[in-house]
Symmetry: C2
């Protein structure tokens, strides 16, 4: 699954082209090491962290798109585009072709044609670009393939949706372990899209940086909660069923899935007013380690029937973990969640999470859970959905294809 | 310079306190490893990056503040606060005492008293918090110590300054290698400041993530330029003179310095219209490796006298590298620059750099350079300063003191 070092070949070829044959990227890389040896750069205060992860790649091409079962990268940018008025099927195909070609280059650490800052493409750091189609785009591309769930989610009473964080014709989920690689990839892709689409919204999120905590540690959100414990492991049978369909759910297309993006504003100030026992009661898990209140370790199954000596349920009727549990086994989703934190002047800060979930059928898998949480979930006291969008995620493509091409052949 | 592992002691003590004695942070950490062993977390696609850097620390206490000569961390947040109306000297001292205590705890990976999400403080990832005093705050604390340069910079013709990115009574420069650690530290510090100060502006920036490129590699900005080649190496004689004063410049106080923060908007779209030779002509350096047009490697001295066979200067009269060169040896600064990138809907994106520079005397060191660049610098065609602020950076403090206490004793 590992590409050969992307800094050979592509980039140094490019470096030679752009710099008129004077210097190669190899020389630039050697320079960094050289300046360390010569002592012209500051000496590191600790043993250096190996420069391991900038060259890591996630393959863009394949039967399925990257960025779904991919181990979550440290940074994500969810970019929703709207087609320009008058864009027709041909414009859509051209857009997808351009974006697929650029995304494939960027993912392997090669600067796409027309990339004016090719050096910023040199370290992809597991960059993945995942395409999601909104109803309008899919309707233009393959009108008879639009799944019934591809429309705004039903209204929930807790929603305070803002137009500026909702909807969209085309979603690009960009993820990478390096913030600069992400920024550059976003810019290149937006340039490629410009003639046929405009930016509707962009949501930037983060988790722990690579190497800050052991790989495989479940992330924490800004409430301090261990977040994502119950998620199915990519590659597992359960993950396959949840994301790509199984006996009881069918995906809209083979190797396709669906993406729900919700922007959840979190009132950190109000949350801070609540003491730890009350917070743990609201969640149904211990904050320190994410263990259910009926267990001792993060991955213990919550015992929803357990009662206290006084006869009260240990996990309260309104606890998030109870309300989020599937009533029917089909009600499972695969979450890929990121934090956002945008402090502003005069207390006008905005923080929360970009809740992204993958599932074969949002109507059957996501909506029932959200309905239950809408009816009753103690966490609603401190959280507000302010954005919402649903996208159909097509299969991946071959090296000579583009994302969505399979819809034209079918 | 290395603290003992901060996750022992402080945090697990705290974990015990907060979680009511049920679990310790040690257990939480072990859990991550445990879930990997059990295969309940996704298998890493490549050899795992060692979880080395989350526990790294930069000492908060000392004769000088951290975050000046510190090897630049991957992320920075520059937070400018304004004192609430009516705040007097006692309120200022209390504010500085609270912030110093919290910053010291956070830097060593210990959750400060009142931190409601102590687990987010567990991995400081070289967190540093650097205090800068604006004229009003320093005037309240030590009116006879206000240096003459502590006022807005002179107006430059290229400036298009916006109030929302300029000025401030107290600057906190937060830096860390983990974005989540930074977010948490910012939140804790702002909570501590809330009773006596309000947020004036926040500027978030990034460089390459730790480990994405070899340590010691000079950063690139969003124009793709190698940025910071000419900076003095912390610890060097030159660095000492530039930042903390020497024979020809005196700092406002021993072990003190000055911080200039300028927000420079960069027109990436217009820059992309320019071809590589024209860009290199504008900068005076090659884009591929940062070498001056008269040299072959990044750290070669530019030869400003060199001419082409036709008699024209190789480095143009308007080239940035020529205009930024000191006319007088005192005109040197120490830069600590971060990129920002805030794409917005409908092309309303905002990208550029947070230009932060340290120098003993901004009037003598920074202003002459900026004046020269204001008069003539080809890069002005694509860059616009939109924010500007100057702060007096006091010495560090001892474990029982607070930043600024030395001013009360002097």
């Amino acid at each position: 699954m590992r590409e050969p070092d992307p800094r050979r070949g592509g980039l140094s070829r490019r470096g030679l082209l752009v710099a008129g044959g004077v210097a190669s990227a190899g020389a630039a890389t050697a320079l960094g090491a050289e300046s360390l040896r010569r002592g012209t750069a500051a000496p590191p205060p600790d043993p250096p962290v190996p420069a391991a992860h900038g060259g890591r790649t996630e393959p863009f091409h394949g039967a399925r798109q990257a960025g779904v079962g991919t181990v979550p990268q440290a940074f994500a940018s969810f970019v929703a585009l709207d087609l320009r008025p008058g864009a027709g099927p041909e414009a859509v195909r051209r857009l997808l072709r351009v974006l697929s070609a650029d995304a494939a280059d960027l993912a392997r650490g090669t600067a796409p044609v027309g990339d004016q800052e090719p050096w910023l493409a040199e370290h992809p750091a597991r960059l993945s670009v995942t395409f999601g189609f909104g109803p309008r785009l899919l309707g233009l591309l393959a009108p008879d393939r639009v799944p019934p769930w591809l429309r705004p989610l039903p209204a929930f009473s807790i929603d305070r949706l803002e137009e500026r964080w909702s909807g969209g014709d085309l979603l690009l989920q960009l993820c990478a372990d390096d913030r600069l690689a992400l920024s550059h990839a976003q810019r290149v892709l937006l340039k490629g899209a410009r003639s046929s689409a405009t930016v509707r919204w962009v949501q930037d999120g983060f988790r722990h940086t690579v190497g800050a905590v052991p790989e495989g540690t479940t992330m924490r959100n800004l409430f301090g909660q261990v977040d994502g414990t119950a998620d199915a492991r990519p590659g597992s049978e359960e993950f396959e069923r949840v994301v790509y369909g199984g006996a009881d759910t069918a995906p809209w297309i083979e190797d396709g899935t669906a993406l729900v993006v919700r922007r959840i504003r979190m009132d950190l100030d109000a949350w801070d007013e609540v003491d730890t026992p009350a917070r743990e009661d609201a969640v149904g898990r211990r904050l320190a380690d994410g263990a259910p209140l009926t267990g001792t370790a993060e991955h213990d199954e919550p015992d929803l029937a357990a009662t206290s000596p006084l006869g009260f349920p240990v996990i309260a009727p309104y606890a998030h973990v109870r309300r989020a549990r599937p009533a029917d086994p089909v009600e499972r989703i695969h979450r890929r969640v990121y934090n956002y934190d945008l402090p502003g002047a005069g207390g006008a800060g905005d923080a929360g999470m970009i809740f992204a979930s993958y599932q074969a059928d949002p109507d059957r898998q996501f909506v029932p859970i959200q309905r239950r949480l809408d009816e009753l979930d103690m966490l609603n006291a401190w959280t507000t959905p302010v954005g919402s969008a649903v996208f159909a995620v097509p299969p991946g493509c071959a090296e000579d294809g583009f994302v969505g091409d399979v819809l034209l052949r079918a």
